[in-house]
C-alpha cells in the first residue's frame, strides 16, 4: 500500500488542485500544494525506516492484475537500487513548491498541480516492476513537463518543449517495441523480474540492448543525444529545471540498471566499450563545453551531463565500486544540481537575467546567499565532505581498478568540474559590484533560506556520512553484478532432441 500511496497521493492532490484552484485564491492554492507535497513526502518516509537492507529482494511489493488480456499487472516494489529515489522525488517536490511560492503568479494551481502529478508519476517509474506499467509512467511524465516548460518557460520555451518531448518520445518508442518483443519471448508476461531470468541469444540481446539504449541514453542524457537538455534547462522555469536535473535524468540511468544490464547482460558486456566511450566523451568533452558557457543555466546543464556521464561510466565498468558509485552519484547529483538551479533561480527572480556577464560582486549585497552558493558550487566540483565527492570518487576508483588510464581520464573531469564551477562563481559573486542591478539586490528571505538550508543539510549529510545510502544499495548492487556476470545465452541445444528447440521459453514457465 505504501508505494501506491506514494504514487497516488500526489497525483490525486495534483488533480484536485487542477480542478479546484483559481488564480484569485492564490494563497489557498499555495498552502494546499505545500501541504500536499509535505504529506506526499511524509508517506514515503516509512519506506526508509521499513527497508530491510539485508536482502536484494523486492520489498513493499504490490501485485494485482491490471489488463488481463495482455497479462499486464499492477506490480510495484522497490529494492536497494530504487528505494532512495522515492523519498528523493517527494523531497524535491517539496522544494519546488517552496521555490515557486512568490515567483509563480499566473496559473498557480496548474503549476503546482503539474509538479505534484509529475512527482507521483516519477515515483511510479521507480517502483514499477511491470514492463508496461513502467512504460506508462515513463511516458506520462512527458506531459506535465511539456506543459511546465511551455507555459512558464523563457522566450524560446516552445522550441525547447517540443524538442524535449520529441527527443524523449523517439527513444522510448523503440523501447516499447523492445518491451513487446520481450513480452512474446517470455511467453506472455510483462514481469520485469521474469525477463531478468530469460535466456536470450546474443543477437537478440544486442537488439534489445540498443532499443533500451535509445530510450535511456536520451533521458540520461548521454553524448551525443544530449542536445535537448541545455535547451530544456535554459527555457524551463526554475522548478522545471530542478525536477529535470534532480529526478528526470535519473529515470534514464535507473532504466539501465533495471532493464539493459539484467535483461541483456551479455550484450551489455559486449558493448560496454561503447557506453564507456560515450560516457568518457560526455565527462571530458562536455566538461570543456561547460567552461565556455555565458549562460549560468546552460553551464549547470552541461555540468549535469558531465556528472551523469560518471553515472553511466560507473554502471558499465562492472564492479561494485563503480556501480554503487554511480548510484550514489545519482542521488547526490539530485541534491546538488537541484540546489545549483535553485541558486540560479534566486538570482534570476531578482535580476531576470541568466547571463554571467550581468552579475559580478553579488557577495557584497547578498552575503548569506553567496555562502550557500559557494557551498553548492563546491559540492558541484566534488569537494570532499560534500555529496558530490562520494559518488565521483567511488566511480574514479572503480574505473582505475578496471583500467588505470580509464581512471586517469575520468579524474580529469574533477579538474574541469572545478574549473567551470569556480570560474562561474568567481565571475558572478566575487569582485566589485559591477552594475546597478547587483547593487540593489536584496539578500534571501526566510523562505529561500529555508529551501537552500534543507538542501545544504542533505548535501552535507550525504558527504560526511554516506553509509545509510550505500548500506541500502549494497545487497542489491552485488546481486545485480552477480546477475550481470552470469551469461544468459541459451545453453546449446542437444542435437538429438527436437523438442528441446523450445527450451529458451521454459525457464519462465516455472
Amino acid at each position: 500500500m505504501l508505494l501506491s500511496l506514494s504514487i497516488f497521493l500526489p497525483i490525486v492532490c495534483g488533480l484536485v488542485l487542477l480542478a479546484l484552484g483559481r488564480d484569485d485564491q492564490v494563497k489557498a492554492v499555495r498552502w494546499l500544494a505545500l501541504i500536499a507535497a509535505l504529506a506526499s513526502f511524509a508517506v514515503t518516509l516509512p519506506l526508509i525506516g521499513g527497508f530491510d537492507s539485508s536482502t536484494a529482494a523486492m520489498q513493499f511489493v504490490e501485485n494485482q492484475p491490471w489488463i488481463e488480456r495482455f497479462n499486464v499487472r499492477y506490480h510495484l516494489g522497490v529494492d536497494g537500487i530504487s528505494m532512495w529515489f522515492v523519498p528523493l522525488t517527494a523531497f524535491i517536490t517539496v522544494i519546488v513548491v517552496i521555490a515557486a511560492w512568490e515567483v509563480i503568479e499566473k496559473r498557480v494551481n496548474q503549476y503546482m498541480g503539474a509538479f505534484l502529478l509529475l512527482s507521483g508519476l516519477m515515483i511510479g517509474v521507480f517502483s514499477a516492476l511491470d514492463g508496461l506499467l513502467f512504460y506508462v509512467f515513463f511516458e506520462a511524465t512527458l506531459i506535465p513537463m511539456y506543459i511546465i516548460i511551455g507555459v512558464w518557460g523563457g522566450p524560446r520555451r516552445v522550441y525547447a518543449a517540443f524538442k524535449f518531448f520529441l527527443y524523449t518520445l523517439a527513444g522510448s518508442l523503440l523501447m516499447l517495441i523492445a518491451l513487446l518483443y520481450l513480452y512474446f519471448q517470455s511467453g506472455g508476461s510483462f514481469d520485469i523480474q521474469a525477463w531478468h531470468q530469460l535466456p536470450l541469444p546474443l543477437s537478440t540481446q544486442t537488439l534489445l540492448f540498443f532499443a533500451f539504449l535509445a530510450a535511456f541514453s536520451v533521458k540520461v542524457p548521454m553524448w551525443p543525444v544530449h542536445t535537448w537538455l541545455p535547451d530544456a534547462h535554459v527555457e524551463a522555469p526554475t522548478g522545471g529545471s530542478v525536477v529535470l536535473a534532480a529526478i528526470m535524468l535519473k529515470l534514464g540511468a535507473y532504466g539501465f540498471l533495471r532493464f539493459s544490464l539484467p535483461i541483456a547482460p551479455d550484450a551489455a558486456h559486449h558493448w560496454s566499450w561503447l557506453i564507456i566511450a560515450m560516457s568518457l566523451i560526455g565527462v571530458v568533452y562536455i566538461g570543456l563545453v561547460a567552461l565556455v558557457q555565458q549562460d549560468m543555466k546552460k553551464l549547470v546543464a552541461y555540468s549535469s551531463i558531465a556528472h551523469m556521464g560518471f553515472v553511466t561510466l560507473g554502471f558499465f565498468i562492472f564492479n561494485e565500486l563503480g556501480m554503487s558509485g554511480g548510484l550514489v552519484q545519482m542521488i547526490s547529483h539530485g541534491f546538488v544540481s537541484g540546489a545549483m538551479f535553485l541558486s540560479i533561480g534566486v538570482l534570476y527572480d531578482r535580476v531576470h537575467s541568466r547571463e554571467i556577464a550581468a552579475y559580478g560582486g553579488v557577495v557584497n549585497t547578498m552575503p548569506k546567499f553567496a555562502a550557500f552558493a559557494l557551498f553548492f558550487t563546491m559540492a558541484n566540483c566534488g569537494l570532499p565532505a560534500t555529496a558530490g565527492f562520494v559518488g565521483e570518487w567511488m566511480v574514479i576508483l572503480g574505473s582505475a581498478k578496471y583500467s588505470f588510464w580509464l581512471g586517469a581520464i575520468a579524474a580529469t573531469a574533477l579538474i574541469s568540474g572545478a574549473a567551470y564551477s569556480l570560474w562561474m562563481y568567481k565571475r558572478v559573486y566575487f569582485g566589485p559590484v559591477t552594475n546597478e542591478n547587483v547593487k540593489t539586490l536584496k539578500d534571501i528571505n526566510a523562505r529561500e533560506f529555508l529551501m537552500l538550508a534543507m538542501l545544504a543539510i542533505a548535501v552535507l549529510f550525504m558527504g560526511v556520512y554516506p553509509k545509510p545510502f550505500t548500506d541500502v544499495m549494497d545487497k542489491s548492487v552485488s546481486h545485480l553484478l552477480k546477475h550481470t556476470g552470469t551469461s544468459k545465452l541459451p545453453v546449446p541445444v542437444q542435437p538429438a532432441a527436437p523438442a528441446m528447440s523450445e527450451s529458451p521459453a521454459q525457464p519462465t514457465a516455472n
Partner: protein
Amino acid sequence: MNNMNWLAVYPEIILLAMTCVVAMVDLWVTDPQRRPTYWLTQLTLVVVGAMHLGYFQEGATVYAMQGMVVADPMGHLLAFFACIATIVTLVYARPYVASREMLKGELFTLTLFSMLGVSVMVSANNFLVVYLGLELMSLSLYALVALRRDNANATEAAMKYFVLGALASGFLLYGLSMMYGATGSLSIPRVFEVISLGEANKSVLVFGVVFVVAGLAFKLGAAPFHMWVPDVYHGAPTATTLLIGAAPKLAAFAITIRLLVEGMIGLAVDWQQMLIVLAIASLLVGNLAAIAQTNLKRMLAYSTIAQMGFMLLGLASGVVNDNTLSAANAYSSAMFYAVIYVMTTLGSFGMILLLSRQGHEAEEIKDMAGLAKRSPWYAAVMTIFMLSLAGIPPTAGFYAKLSVLQALISTNNPLYLGLAIAAVLVSLIGAYYYLRVIKVMFFDEPTDSSPLGAPADVRVVMSLNGVAVLVFGLLPGGLMAWCAQAIVKTLAT
C-alpha cells in the same frame, strides 16, 4: 440458415420503422428547434443501441433473412458503438446546425438512414447486402454533406464525395462481381468454402480482390485512395464531418472483416500485401501532410488517414506463413483500434463544434489559441484527445497502438517486426502536430475572449467523452476483452 429469424434483425426493423416515423412526425413539428424530432431520434438510437448490446451479451450467432445477414457478436458490438457514436454526434451537432439553418427534419431522417446502412453493413453475410448497406449509408451521407446547399464549400465537398464515392462503389462492385464469377456465389460463407477448396480460378480471384481492396481502401480513406478525405472533411459542415468520420469508419472496418476475412481469408497472402502497402502509404501521407495544415479539420482529416493506416497494419498481421493462429489477436486489435479511434474523433471534432458559435467556425488551429485560459477544463479534455490520437499513455489511444503493435510483433516475423518499428517511428512525426494543438491551447495567448456558448448537454457529453478516453486509458481491459470476444466468436462460425 434458410429461415427468416426475424428476431435477429429486430434492431434493424425497428430502426427502419422509426426512421419512417421520424420522417412523418417531422412534418407536423412546428417547433423551430425540432425538439420532438430530435428526442424521437435519440430515443430510437438508444433503444436500438441497447438491443444490440443485449444481443452482444447473449453472444449467439444467428443467420437471418435466409442467410443474407448474420447477427453475430461482432456485428452487434460494432452496431452498438455506431449507435453511441451517432447519439453523441447528434448531441454535439444540434446547437451547431440550429445556428446555421440546417436544423431540418431531413437531418434526422438521413442520419437514421445512414445508421441503418451501417447496421446492415456490419451484419451483412452476402455481397449484395454489403453493397446495399454501403449505398444506403453513402447516399445519406452525400445528401448530408450538401445539406447547406447555399454554401459553396459544402456543395463542392458533396460533389467530390459523391463522384469519388460512386467510383469506389463501382470498384467494389466490380471486384465482387469477379468473385461471383470465380466462385459462383454471392454468399460470403459459400465464397469462403469455394476458395478454401481451391476450385476457383486463382487469377480471377486475385483480380477481384484487388478491386475489392481498392473499394474498401477508399471507404476507409487509406492512401492512395485518400484524396477525398481532407476536402470532404474540410468542406462539409462540421456536424456532418463528424457523421462521416465516426460511425462509417466502424462500418468500413466491419465490411473489411466480412469481405476479406470471412469471405476471402484463403487469399490472405494477396490482400495482406496490399493492406501493408496501403498502410505504409497512409501512415506516411497522413502524418507528413498533417504537419503542413493550419486548418484543424484538415489536420484531423490527414490524421484520420494515418490512423486508418495504423489500423490496417493490425488487419494485415492476421495470417502469417499460412498460419491463422494469430488471426483473432490481430483482428481484435484492429477492432479495438477502430473503436478507440472513433471515440477520440468524436471528441476532437466535437470540440470544434463546441467552440464554434453563430457566425464563427472555430476550425482553424489558431482558433484554439489560449483555450487553457478561456476554459482550462476543455483545454484539458482536448489535450486528452490529442494525446490519445498521438498514442501517449495514459490515454486510450496508447492501448490502441499497443494492441496493434503487439499483434505485429506476435507474428515473430522480421517483416512485421520491421513494420512495427516503422509504424512507431512514423507516429513520432504524428506526435509533432498533435502536440502543436496542445501548444496552441496552452502556450499561446487567446485571440478570442468570448465565453464558450455551448449548452449544458454538449458540455456534459463532451466531458464524459474526455473522461471516457482517459478511463479506457487507465483500465482498457474490459473493452479489449469485448473486442476479443466478438472477434473470436465471429471467426469461430
